[in-house]
Symmetry: C2
Subunit: 255 residues, 2 copies
């Protein structure tokens, strides 16, 4: 069924991509080892080669090593974390408070990915009625960065418990530039087999078949299809991971 | 300098990821060949394993094959494209109009990635003051999908010349669900060496060093650093691509 198409990667190359996708984690524990410049250069260029609407490349990268600024970021994080905790009650609040959610001071590098929507003026090829297309592009760059870091052995943690106005103030970011992602980056003791929030039983991985709709929202008529079956089948994955299907794929699925 | 860290991938695996990142393209030309279910299953599961704020997994996937609906999408696209053209003047407008910007009817599959921010209610771990974190998560899923498709030999084109209210109407998407990405997917005649908008001289790749700031916005004091040099150096890449550095990396850089 799966005849190899001429532009498909070799099995080894394809596996490299899937290893990055399925063994990437949102990290909060870091080693102090510095990141070599050539490694960091590759991670940043991978980000820079994401798709962008109208080839606008709306991203910038602020490399943050300064400890004073990082302490101020941590202070803001701690305030916001308590607000976040108050969205939950009882045991769930306790579970929230027990989780480590950032590595701002532990990681050897913090990195802010910003988005400047009007870098080349308001006229953008591909932008008419949709407002946030440059933001979408910048997120694609973040994912490239995250995957490249994983392949280089680096962990990345995205700290979203944050206020944009504080980042703007602390890092002197001008109006019109959004501090989209505050990331902690560094080598890590290990990459957990499963997402931390899954292991901590905060939330479960949704069954992939439940996310499929066919031709219109809520039409599940294809749910019994070969596609849905393939999404639940170990055979789909054994071809790529013959000896060990990563736990993050097999978990919660009917293998 | 680049001592291998214990969690770094082997050179072959790492190259697989970088091949996907640097040979991914935003495609508008498609072959009619159907996509095998096991291939599509892998691409969708790769998307599903993106990071998401609070492990909310806010995405759904609408698989669109119905031609009537796709013709209606194409009609809306054509209207919006003319509006987009009117943002430009003279030769730039002509250049815009000469570009093929979608493969809605040519691709064997259209796929809408949606975002449902309040899937599990308003309380989300990691969401306090930032409004759009679920949207960011969904974009990460789109990039996973795009890269996995590339490794499988499939092209993806993101059609952003669109109106959300039309997608909502055509595909009966309920309130509270955002049709974030309208994608065309299929096998392709070939993947161009460079982004189409770059080859068409619509825009240039920005020099990567120009995107770096150090500790605060506009501080370029690290611009002469080893990091900036590594971003402009062929040596950084020869280790991964010994025989041929992809054109998309080497283009516009001082190799």
């Amino acid at each position: 069924m799966a005849k190899d198409h001429q532009h498909a990667f070799s099995p080894e190359m394809r596996r490299g991509l899937y290893e990055a996708i399925f063994r990437r984690r949102d990290m909060r524990e870091f080693l102090p080892d510095p990141i070599p410049d050539d490694v960091l250069a590759r991670v940043l260029i991978a980000a820079h080669h994401a798709a962008s609407v109208g080839f606008t490349q709306p991203w910038d990268f602020i490399m943050v090593r300064d400890l004073l600024r990082r302490r101020e970021v941590k202070r803001v994080f701690d305030e916001e974390r308590l607000k976040n905790a108050n969205q939950f009650e009882g045991a769930r609040r306790e579970k929230f408070l027990a989780l480590k959610l950032e590595g701002i001071l532990d990681a050897p590098l913090n990195l802010i990915v910003t988005c400047e929507p009007e870098r080349f003026g308001p006229g953008v090829l591909g932008k008419v009625s949709l407002r946030d297309v440059e933001i979408y592009s910048t997120c694609l760059a973040v994912e490239n960065l995250w995957l490249a870091a994983r392949a280089e052995g680096l962990g990345v943690g995205w700290v979203s418990i944050m206020r944009n106005e504080d980042l703007t103030r602390i890092f002197e970011i001008p109006p019109g530039v959004l501090p989209l992602a505050y990331l902690c980056i560094g080598y890590v003791p290990n990459f957990p087999e499963r997402p931390v929030l899954e292991s901590a039983q905060w939330a479960k991985r949704l069954p992939p078949g439940s996310l499929l709709h066919f031709d219109s929202w809520g039409d599940r008529s294809g749910a019994g299809s070969k596609l849905a079956a393939a999404m639940e089948s170990a055979a789909t994955w054994h071809e790529i991971f013959p000896e060990d299907i990563p736990k993050d794929i097999s978990n919660g699925r009917r293998f």
